[in-house]
């Protein structure tokens, strides 16, 4: 018995990483797959655009922000700085948002979860965690000149410019559920919602957007240019 208990275990062998999407033919459905996500009759001048950024990679990162090795490991693996409280950082493909003093959410292209998790584990050591939660939540996007009005109706948090600048990320109450709200641009918001509440929140947002003219789907290129938000592409200042 004793030799079993005292057996030294290689730390690396204790982690089982699984590719949750090994091949493209494995069917995957977003929690909003059953919703008709395209406007059949779009309003002339929509105040709100609503769409789902479905099947993205969602990784929860845990670790000590004061540990230089952890910070550098995250930076090396993602190319993104570890954001300070209530802030987010962003590259072309990936976004890293602060959730708690020892927790961050990394979102990016849906087919790269396994590759990114492997890279992160290569760069991190010691006391940390990387958890693939892609199946547990989804991204809902809210844009347009009245997007903020919809949020004002739906959550108790102050979404005014002076309290919610571009790049800020906040975990708060949304409708009678909760969401992680991140501001991507002047009129551009991203909501992280739980899988089991996605349907409820989607229907809530559709209802709340009705009075402003709702377009289900992304703004087309022309509309996007008209409602442009120049800071969208820039990484967020800390």
């Amino acid at each position: 018995m004793s030799e079993v208990i005292n057996k030294t275990v290689d730390e690396a062998t204790q982690v089982a990483i699984m590719d949750q999407c090994p091949t493209a033919d494995v069917p995957a459905r977003s929690p909003l797959a059953h919703q008709d996500q395209s406007s059949k009759v779009a309003p002339q001048n929509p105040g709100v655009f609503l769409w789902e950024d479905a099947l993205k990679t969602h990784l929860v990162l845990r670790g000590d922000a004061n540990n230089a090795d952890f910070r550098q490991g995250i930076e090396a693996a993602t190319g993104l700085d570890l954001p300070e409280a209530l802030q987010s950082t962003q590259s072309d493909d990936w976004a890293l948002g602060w959730i708690a003093p020892d927790e961050w959410l990394l979102t990016g292209p849906g087919d790269q979860a396994f590759a990114m998790e492997t890279t992160l584990r290569k760069h991190l050591s010691g006391h940390y965690a990387v958890i693939n939660v892609s199946g547990g939540q989804t991204l809902v996007r809210l844009a347009g000149p009245e997007a903020r009005s919809v949020l004002m109706k739906s959550c108790p948090y102050d979404v005014h410019d002076r309290n919610f600048p571009i790049g800020k990320i906040v975990n708060t109450v949304l409708a009678k559920s909760q969401a992680t709200i991140r501001r991507l641009g002047e009129n551009d918001w991203e909501l992280v919602v739980r899988r089991s509440f996605a349907d409820y929140i989607w229907r809530w947002l559709m209802d709340a957007s009705g009075e402003y003219g709702l377009h289900l789907g992304q703004p087309d290129a022309a509309t996007a240019a008209r409602q442009s938000n120049p800071s969208r592409a820039n990484p967020v200042e800390g």
């Binding site: 409280a85 209530l86 959730i99 708690a100 003093p101 927790e103 108790p156 948090y157 975990n171 708060t172 109450v173 909760q178």
Partner: protein
């Protein structure tokens, strides 16, 4: 409706993001096997019910999900301070063992 300062988020948030978790600064007896039943019973079941200053635990449940302490006046409901776990309160009453 409380407007509570979360010492981890560094912001005031609406009360509905939080849950109260009872009296703060309860020390578990060092060696439960050597406690009297009365000592263990007091630790497990008995709580202060002061009129005035009360130190209590809250959790930022729909936020950063961290536990922290609040000093609150039970008479006026005024929240005097929020402070992190492990810190000592600045506001105490005359007979407060923490003062």
């Amino acid at each position: 409706m409380f407007y509570i300062y979360c010492p981890y988020c560094g912001e005031h948030r609406e009360e509905e993001e939080f849950h109260p978790k009872g009296q703060a600064h309860l020390a578990r007896p060092e060696n439960p096997d050597e406690c009297t039943d009365e000592e263990w019973g007091n630790y497990l079941y008995f709580r202060d019910n002061p009129r005035g200053i009360h130190h209590e635990i809250w959790v930022h449940a729909i936020g950063c999900r961290k536990f922290f302490n609040v000093t609150r006046d039970t008479q006026t409901y005024e929240i005097k301070e929020s402070y992190r776990m492990g810190a000592t309160p600045e506001v105490t009453h005359a007979n407060d063992p923490l003062s």
